[in-house]
């Protein structure tokens, strides 16, 4: 079991609401427990007439769940919920138990219960009054494949990353690294794959920008997320066939259930770059419209030049202002929700990275540091990126006879303007401007549990229509594409076994409006293919569980892979597409073992992802001669690649509730089977150790803790020979410190604080997955203070 799901509740909360608030991070982990009745006195003779009963409901819809299996761990007691979601287990002896609730399509819930009664009790009292706990279980529907282990970042772990980019936050999950362009642009990499191979679901909508570009970070305000989930491995069936590496779910909190006005304010200040971030959320209900609730949220970020241990990096400031608004109505039968978000971001691109030719690049590498160093400024000059992303989403669901039909539509507009430090003209036009509009529609039917509640599943139809305009420097042509997919996913539960299988079929039409000179030369591509998944979860006892999944996914070549043609300035290379490329197909086998005991929790996840016709940039023998000199020539080519590795996560409570140790280890080997060699740009292996000391109450700060972490990243030794302008950077060690706690101000308002020092020793290092490793070292020491006030 995932530790985060374990109930952290005190067994006898005197004020259930207060304790619920205090443990808010865990509250969101997926369940609520109401101890409606208890009596705690001295215990004497064992009585075996205790009873537990209650109701199991969907957390979002509050609909009862039929066919949920409730089991008392370590006993043979179990029950199944009836048509009104009610269950009852009786003839239990008094004692402390763990009640486990299992439903197909939902997260497994475990909750502690205590069944006791006093010796003075009148045994004639009805059982219901004395020996009973009425436990309401609220389950969260799983959107991710069951047999594919997903990793969660939420609560305090997510708080620690506040103010950082989405990519940096995701890096806390083992197996996820980032592809950096300087310090401010970071893209998530799952098991060595990124960009078009990772699907990001932003509040239920596929994020569609220019995600093919390695310097194009996801256009999402990280403060929207209350929970980040990473599904590692091919998950093409549910989220779109191109989820070859995995899926990232960025999920906001559900709309509030009570009309009470509540909210939170986040503020973070970082010494490096003198970055300041403020984000606020306000939510409530509409008094005259029962059932309607709303939320507004906004973020402002402002930062200046980032400093490496030895110098400032010129023009590395960032400015961001985002907002979102949600409103919705919900009853037990149906609900609607409308969401709008806008993301506006201006990122300065380190001016020392601007090169016009290969010789410029070689000169900088030889120099070992940028030629031009400046002081601190917040001004953002060219080169820079100005990005706007709007998302409008509508969602409706309808529950009937235990079935649930939901429809989600989205319209996204992404405008990306890239300003070059280029040429003699002082024009205000960007050198490169992309405008992409995407419409999505997803209709999903979650059918009612069949076969005595043992089987549940969903059927879906999803559509996407997209068009793109590129202006300025020729890079990718204008295009238009339509994608239609149908899928089905079923899950069975049988005693200790859970099985899962699904299939999807996609049909894609791509029209490319290519020009040769000024003459139109349009192209049409049509791709169809299927993907599938089968998986199993075996839980022999409460301590151990095994998962295995085999999934396939396929990805049609994208317009940049088909038609790009030109010098990629940041990479000092000439890149050319190939319009004859075929879709790539991934066959992904993953398995994991999880062991949980009182004081130790370990999880080992292994994967082998074989990708046929893997599309990559292959270096060509002859360079391309241009007016800016010779550039290495790369062509989009296909090969057969394998990505094999494992992630190990352990957590050991050395001294329970006081002192714990956490280990994360990631190993990956990527291999090109046709060329019999390694692939470029694969994250190096790494180990992270973390020691956490829970101090408890210090002055008025509760739950105070101190964390010391050490990250070691190896040098990437598996690279093809002569594939790079410089050798992969050496291995490095990084030390980080986090100190934090919480102050209770009033009944419902709290202040969480975190003081952190990243790169404590101000180590000068470079990372292989930073595209700016040629030009400068990574960020130096960064001291930060983060505050979160909830009311």
């Amino acid at each position: 079991m995932n530790k985060k799901e374990l109930p952290p509740f005190p067994l006898f909360p005197l004020h259930p609401t207060r304790s619920k608030r205090r443990w808010q991070p865990q509250f969101f982990a997926g369940w609520v427990l109401f101890l409606l009745f208890h009596s705690a006195y001295a215990q004497t003779p064992k009585d075996c007439h205790c009873l537990i009963k209650g109701v199991v409901k969907d957390r979002e819809t509050r609909q009862p769940i039929v066919g949920a299996i409730l089991r008392i761990e370590g006993t043979s007691f179990f029950a199944t919920t009836d048509t009104s979601g009610r269950y009852k287990i009786d003839q239990i002896c008094q004692g402390k138990y763990t009640l486990e609730c299992r439903i197909v399509g939902y997260k497994v819930i475990k909750t502690s219960i205590v069944l006791e009664h006093s010796a003075e009790e009148d045994l004639n009292l009805s059982e219901d009054e004395v020996h009973l706990q009425d436990v309401e279980i609220v389950a969260r529907r799983i959107q991710t494949p069951l047999s594919q282990k997903s990793s969660l970042l939420e609560g305090q772990a997510l708080d620690l990353t506040r103010g950082e980019t989405l990519g940096d936050a995701l890096k806390k999950i083992s197996g996820v690294t980032t592809l950096q362009t300087g310090a401010s642009i970071s893209k998530p990499v799952i098991h060595g794959l990124h960009s078009n191979r990772v699907v990001i679901m932003n509040n239920g909508i596929r994020q569609e920008g220019q995600q093919w570009g390695s310097e194009h970070a996801p256009e999402i305000d990280p403060f929207i997320a209350k929970r980040l989930t990473v599904v590692k491995g091919a998950a093409g069936v549910r989220y779109g066939s191109d989820a070859i590496a995995g899926v990232i779910l960025v999920e906001p909190d559900e709309l509030p259930k009570s009309p009470r006005l509540s909210g939170e304010v986040n503020a973070a200040a970082f010494s490096n770059g003198r970055i300041g971030v403020v984000s606020g959320t306000l939510q409530g209900g509409l008094p005259q419209w029962k059932g309607w609730t709303w939320r507004i949220q906004g973020t402002l970020k402002n930062g200046g030049n980032i400093r490496t241990p030895d110098y400032f990096m010129a023009n590395t400031g960032v400015r961001e202002n985002n907002f979102s608004a949600t409103t919705g109505y919900r009853s037990s039968r149906f609900g609607v929700e409308a969401f709008f978000s806008q993301f506006v971001n201006n990122i300065g691109i380190f001016s020392g990275s601007h090169i016009g030719s290969t010789s410029d690049l070689l000169n900088v590498i030889k120099n070992g540091e940028p030629f031009i160093k400046t002081g601190f400024t917040r001004n953002i000059e060219r080169p820079n990126q100005l990005i706007l992303h709007n998302l409008l989403k509508g969602k409706a669901f309808y529950n009937f006879n235990g079935n649930r039909l939901s429809w989600t539509v989205g319209r996204q507009f992404n405008r990306r303007a890239e300003y070059d430090l280029h040429g003699p003209q002082a024009s205000t036009n960007p050198a490169l401007l992309f405008r992409i509009t995407t419409l999505t529609s997803d209709l999903v039917l979650d059918h009612k549990p069949l076969g005595n509640g043992k089987m549940s599943g969903q059927l879906g139809l999803s559509g996407l229509y997209q068009y793109n305009f590129t202006d300025g420097r020729p890079l990718i042509p204008d295009f238009e594409q339509t994608n239609i997919g149908i899928f089905g996913l079923e899950r069975w539960v049988f005693q200790h076994w859970e099985l899962e299988a699904g299939a999807r079929f996609d049909w894609r039409q791509l029209d490319v409006f290519r020009f040769v000179g000024t003459t139109p030369d349009p192209r049409h591509h049509s791709f169809t293919n299927g993907s599938g998944t089968v998986g199993v979860v075996y839980t022999p006892d409460e301590k151990l569980s095994f998962r295995a999944n085999f999934g396939t996914a396929w990805r049609p070549p994208t317009p940049n892979e088909l038609y790009s043609k030109g010098v990629h300035h940041g990479a000092a290379s000439y890149e050319e597409g190939d319009e004859t490329l075929r879709p790539e197909v991934a066959y992904n086998l993953i398995g994991s073992v999880e062991y949980t005991s009182q004081r130790f929790k370990g999880e080992l996840g292994m994967y082998h992802n074989q990708i046929s016709d893997f599309i990559y940039l292959k270096p060509q023998a002859e360079p391309i001669l241009t007016i800016r000199g010779a550039f290495p020539y790369f062509k989009y080519t296909q090969t057969d690649a394998t990505f094999t590795g494992f992630d190990l996560d352990t957590q050991w409570d050395v001294i329970p509730k006081r002192f714990s140790h956490n280990l994360k280890l990631s190993y990956l080997r990527a291999y090109d089977r046709r060329e019999q060699g390694y692939l470029v740009f694969i994250p190096a292996n790494r180990i992270e150790n973390e020691l956490r000391w829970s101090v408890g109450k210090v002055f008025s700060s509760k739950d105070t803790y101190l964390m010391l972490s050490h990250l070691w990243v190896d040098k990437q030794r598996r690279v093809p020979p002569n594939s790079d302008f410089m050798e992969p950077p050496s291995a490095y060690h990084l030390w980080n410190i986090n100190i934090g706690g919480m102050l209770s101000l009033k009944e419902l308002s709290q202040l969480h604080w975190t003081f952190a020092v990243q790169n404590v020793l101000n180590t000068s290092y470079r990372d292989y997955l930073n595209r700016f490793r040629y030009f400068a070292t990574e960020q130096g020491r960064n001291v930060s203070l983060k505050l979160r006030y909830t009311f």
Partner: protein, 186 residues
């Protein structure tokens, strides 16, 4: 149907219709500042004879290979050299020189021999800070030999508001970087 349900339908309808906006027609991309040609004009001192050599890549990066003239000059002479940058992919061809002169404080033309014995080049034009521009200059050839001549147009814009041009090749980046073969024969 209650007013409430009507509101719901309006809300959903709004979401759907917002997607159906009119969109524009695709258009060819337009590189706003392409340099296709580097033209070198040599005039031997005391004469009016000019020799013109070109490095030319009309279709821009990639595609057809560039054409490069072989430069032939006489040893131990002094030449006046004028460097011109052009965009010949448009008609009429446009000279980039006027734009370089407008932003002379952030541009520098650097002419480098493959061996220092081949020639020396001294710019004769100056920007507002009395630093060379290099579009015009004097080239003095050495003894008879062969080698190459490299012509770079360096773009050296201010960084964080501070000028960086210092008369050397180091700051900034290449807007053009071409190499001609050079023969010095009597």
């Amino acid at each position: 149907m209650s007013l409430f349900h009507t509101r719901l339908i309006i809300l959903l309808g709004l979401v759907v219709t917002l997607g159906s906006c009119k969109k524009e027609e695709p258009a060819p991309e337009d590189e706003n500042e392409l340099i296709t040609t580097v033209r070198l004009k040599f005039t031997e001192n005391g004469t009016t004879t000019t020799q013109t050599f070109e490095w030319k890549d009309l279709d821009g990066d990639g595609g057809a290979a560039p054409t490069i003239s072989a430069i032939s000059l006489r040893p131990s002479r002094t030449y006046k050299l004028e460097v011109e940058f052009l965009n010949e992919s448009v008609s009429p061809a446009e000279s980039i020189n006027s734009e370089i002169l407008e932003e002379a404080d952030e541009h520098l033309v650097v002419v480098t021999p493959s061996a220092s014995s081949l020639f020396t080049y001294t710019a004769t034009d100056k920007d507002s800070r009395s630093l060379p521009i290099g579009l015009a200059g004097t080239l003095v050839t050495g003894t008879a030999s062969t080698g190459t001549i490299k012509v770079q147009l360096r773009h050296q814009p201010p960084v964080n508001g501070q000028p960086v041009k210092n008369g050397t090749v180091t700051p900034g980046s290449d807007d053009a970087n071409v190499t001609f073969p050079l023969t010095l024969v009597p």
